[in-house]
Symmetry: C2
C-alpha cells in the first residue's frame, strides 16, 4: 500500500521519487502504521482508509528521519542498516524528498478514498498537522538540537520526546479512532494510550542506544551520548530507565481498561515496545 501511494518514476523528477521510495520502503518497524491498523480494527473502520492513514504516519516519520539525518542536523550516515538518503542520493535530493513526503502524507489522508466523510478527513489533517509542526515533531527536533551539550532536567527531556516522537505515535492511535468515528471520550482514551506508548517507546530507545550494538540497531549506537544530548539513561541509569519504560507501558495499557479482548493487540504492542532489541 505504501508503495502504491508513491508517484511513479518518470521525467526530470524521477530522482526525487526514487529517493522518496528509498526513504519510505526501506524497512523499519512500521510501529506507527501498525498502530493505526490496530486501532482502526478496534472501531471496525474500513481497511482501505486505515491503510491510507497508516501510510500517512509512515510517510511523515520517514520524512523526519531523512531531514534529521542531514549533515546540518544529526549528521548520520546510517539508517535501518543502509546508507541514509542524503548518502545514497545527495543533500538537495534528500531535503526535497523529505519535503515531498510531508506533502504526500497530507494528500493521502485528504483523498476521498480514505473516508467518505469530509469531516473525518479534515479531522485527520488537523491531527496530523498538530503532531508534525512547531508544536509537535519539528518543535521537538529543534529543542533536541538546542539541547546538545547542555544537561537538561528530566521534565525537559520528557517534553522534548513527547513532541519529537510522542505526538506522531499519538496521532497514529487517534487516526484509527477518527476513521472509526469514535466519540470524544473514547478518542481521548485512545490518545492517552498513544501518548504513553510513545513515551515508553522513547525511554526504551534510550536504553537500547546505550546497550545494543550498531548491528542490532541498524543505526549508529551511542550517538546521542556522543553528541552531548541528555538521555533518560544519563539521568536515571540503565536500570532506572528500564523501570520507567515499563511503568509507562503499564500506564498505556491502563488507558485501555474499557476495552475487552479486541484490544489485546494494543496491549501486546505496549509490551513489545519495552522488550524489543532494535
Amino acid at each position: 500500500m505504501l508503495g502504491a501511494l508513491m508517484p511513479s518514476v518518470e521525467g526530470g523528477e524521477a530522482r526525487l521519487i526514487e529517493a522518496m521510495r528509498y526513504a519510505t520502503l526501506g524497512g523499519g518497524k512500521r510501529l506507527r502504521g501498525f498502530l493505526v491498523m490496530e486501532v482502526a480494527a478496534l472501531f471496525d473502520a474500513e481497511p482501505e482508509g486505515a491503510l491510507r492513514a497508516a501510510a500517512s504516519a509512515e510517510m511523515l516519520h520517514a520524512y523526519s528521519l531523512v531531514h534529521d539525518d542531514l549533515p546540518a542536523m544529526d549528521d548520520d550516515d546510517l539508517r535501518r542498516g543502509q546508507p541514509s538518503t542524503h548518502i545514497k542520493f545527495d543533500e538537495a535530493t534528500a531535503i526535497l524528498a523529505g519535503d515531498a513526503l510531508q506533502t504526500l502524507a497530507f494528500a493521502t489522508i485528504a483523498d476521498p478514498a480514505t473516508h467518505p466523510d469530509a469531516e473525518a478527513r479534515i479531522a485527520l489533517v488537523v491531527a496530523l498537522a498538530d503532531a508534525s509542526g512547531a508544536a509537535g515533531m519539528v518543535g521537538g527536533q529543534m529543542i533536541d538540537m538546542e539541547g546538545e551539550g547542555h544537561a537538561l532536567p528530566l521534565a525537559a527531556i520528557e517534553r522534548l520526546h513527547a513532541l519529537k516522537t510522542g505526538r506522531l505515535i499519538r496521532y497514529s492511535a487517534e487516526a484509527g479512532a477518527i476513521l472509526g468515528r469514535a466519540g470524544p471520550e473514547v478518542r481521548d482514551r485512545v490518545a492517552a494510550y498513544g501518548r504513553d506508548l510513545g513515551a515508553a517507546f522513547q525511554v526504551a530507545d534510550d536504553v537500547l542506544d546505550a546497550t545494543a550494538s550498531a548491528e542490532e540497531l541498524g543505526k549508529t549506537a551511542g550517538k546521542d551520548a556522543e553528541a552531548g544530548k541528555s538521555t533518560f539513561v544519563a539521568l536515571l541509569g540503565i536500570d532506572g530507565a528500564r523501570a520507567e519504560a515499563e511503568r509507562l507501558a503499564r500506564q498505556a495499557t491502563k488507558a485501555l481498561a474499557g476495552f475487552g479482548a479486541e484490544a489485546d493487540g494494543l496491549r501486546a504492542l505496549a509490551r513489545y515496545v519495552v522488550e524489543r532489541r532494535n
Copy 2:
C-alpha cells in the same frame, strides 16, 4: 494576519518560531496572498477565511524559498534584500523552519475558522497538496536542480516553471474560488487565469534576472545564468522573452472574459506581473 497565525515565541523551540517569522514576515510582494484575496472577493467569500487561505499560500511560498536558498540547493545568501534564513540563523534551524511552515500552511486551511464547511476546507487541502508536492513545487525544484549545466528545450523549461512556480500561483487563484463555493466550470476558468498568470510571472522574472540590478531585485542578480540554468532569456532573447510574458498575461486576462468590472483587479494584476521592476 500572517503574523497572528504564527505561534508565539517561548520554550526551547523559540529559535524555530523566530526563524519561521523571519522567513514569512520579511516583506516580499505577497503576490500569492493578494491573488487569493482578489479571487475570494469576486465570489463574496468571507474575508477571514480568505486571509487564512492567503496566509497558507504565503507560508508555503516562504518555506520553499528557505529550502531553495540552502547551501545544498541554490546556495543563496540574500533574499528580499536581507540575509537568507540559514545565514541569519543556521542551516538546521532553516531546514526545520521550512518544514514547520509547510505544516502550518496545511493547519491554517484545515481550521474551521477558514470555512464552516468541511468539504471546502478539504478541497483547499487537496489543492494545496497538489500544488506543493512531487507533482508540483518540489518536483519543479528537483527538475531545476537536475537541469543545472544542461541546455533544456523550451517545453522542458515551461514544464519546470509550471510546476515550480505556476502550481502555487494557480492554487492561490483556485483557493479564492473554493472559498466562494464556485462551481467546477467557473473554478476551471479561475484556475486557467492562475496558470497563465504564473507562467507570465516566471518569464518576466527571467527578464528581470537578466536586466535588473541586485539592489532592485533584493536578491542576487544573474544567478540563474551563472548556475548554468536554462532560462527563457537564454532561449528567446530579452525582447523575445518580454513578448512571451506579455502574450501569457493577455491569455490570462482572456480567461476572465466571463466576468465584469468586478475582475478588474485581476486584470490589473496580470499587467503588473509583466511590468514590475522587482
